[in-house]
Amino acid sequence: MVAYVPEVPSDTKIIRNVLSGNTEDFSYLMDRYQNYVLAIVKKHVPRQQIEEIVQEIFVRAYQSLGNFRETGGFKQWLSSIAMRTCYDYWRKRYRHKEIPMSFFSREQIKWLESAISLKVEAEQEEMARRQEARQLLNQVLGYLSAEDRIVLELVHLEGLSVKETAELLGWSAANIKVRAFRSRKKLQKILNSIRRN
């Protein structure tokens, strides 16, 4: 006896259906890629903005579905839209940014001092999961420009290659290299100034 396995429609088939007017079929693509997109967004935007940005990403994907070419695959195409939407969020936000060189709390400075000299891996993990770490990282990233921030996150924190980052953001590899270097230097400078203070 052969078990009946329902046929899973390919991305291309779903896209064709959506383009021919079956709007509801777009929800299959959302179900398929929601975790992937959420994982990207959660890392790049503040918690309270996640839902709004995810919505924006899928709406943008729907609107430009006609421009999708099968060569690179839907996942890659969607992740590129996701990254650019996150970048746009920061760009808009930085336009109205008031950066009070907000003072860092005593706990954060203490965390920084003890984190720097840690050698045991298990202790590092425990240290990294603390609230001070999250707050400090968010605050420090807030001092970088939108461009430097997104490159620093992708290259230094996420560990993507220059080429991968360039493809995701649609920028040149040379630009990414320069930004990666510059953003790292800026981050070091900020952290040093916190320690000095």
Binding site: G21, F58, R134, L157
Partner: protein, 105 residues
């Protein structure tokens, strides 16, 4: 050397902190809201693209229109075409005949 170690250590810690963000719990309400926005967009697009759709529709009807024009022309050509002047002449001749009849009386 010391500075290099410190930086490496710190970036490792921040990397863990950064990747931990993936575990933030999110409700599923965004999905329904997204589909609502998409539905409204497709409705608006449908309204805006009415002229485009109409053009497509017209072109699809072109072969049918051609066949209809051909059939009507054949049907018309099977009849004798009488010009207005000829009809008028025919009637005027009948009128003249009737007047003549009256005059003879």
């Amino acid at each position: 050397m010391q500075r290099r170690f410190e930086w490496k250590n710190l970036i490792n810690l921040f990397r863990i902190t950064y990747l931990e963000k993936e575990n933030i719990p999110i409700s599923d309400t965004w999905k329904e809201l997204t589909m609502q926005r998409i539905r409204s967009l497709s409705w608006e697009n449908g309204r805006l693209n009415f002229s485009v759709m109409f053009e497509q529709f017209v072109w699809r009807l072109a072969p049918v229109t051609f066949v209809m024009i051909l059939a009507i022309s054949i049907w018309l050509s099977s009849y004798e075409i009488i010009s207005d002047a000829e009809i008028f002449r025919l009637f005027s001749f009948e009128l003249e005949a009737s007047y003549a009849f009256l005059l003879l009386d």
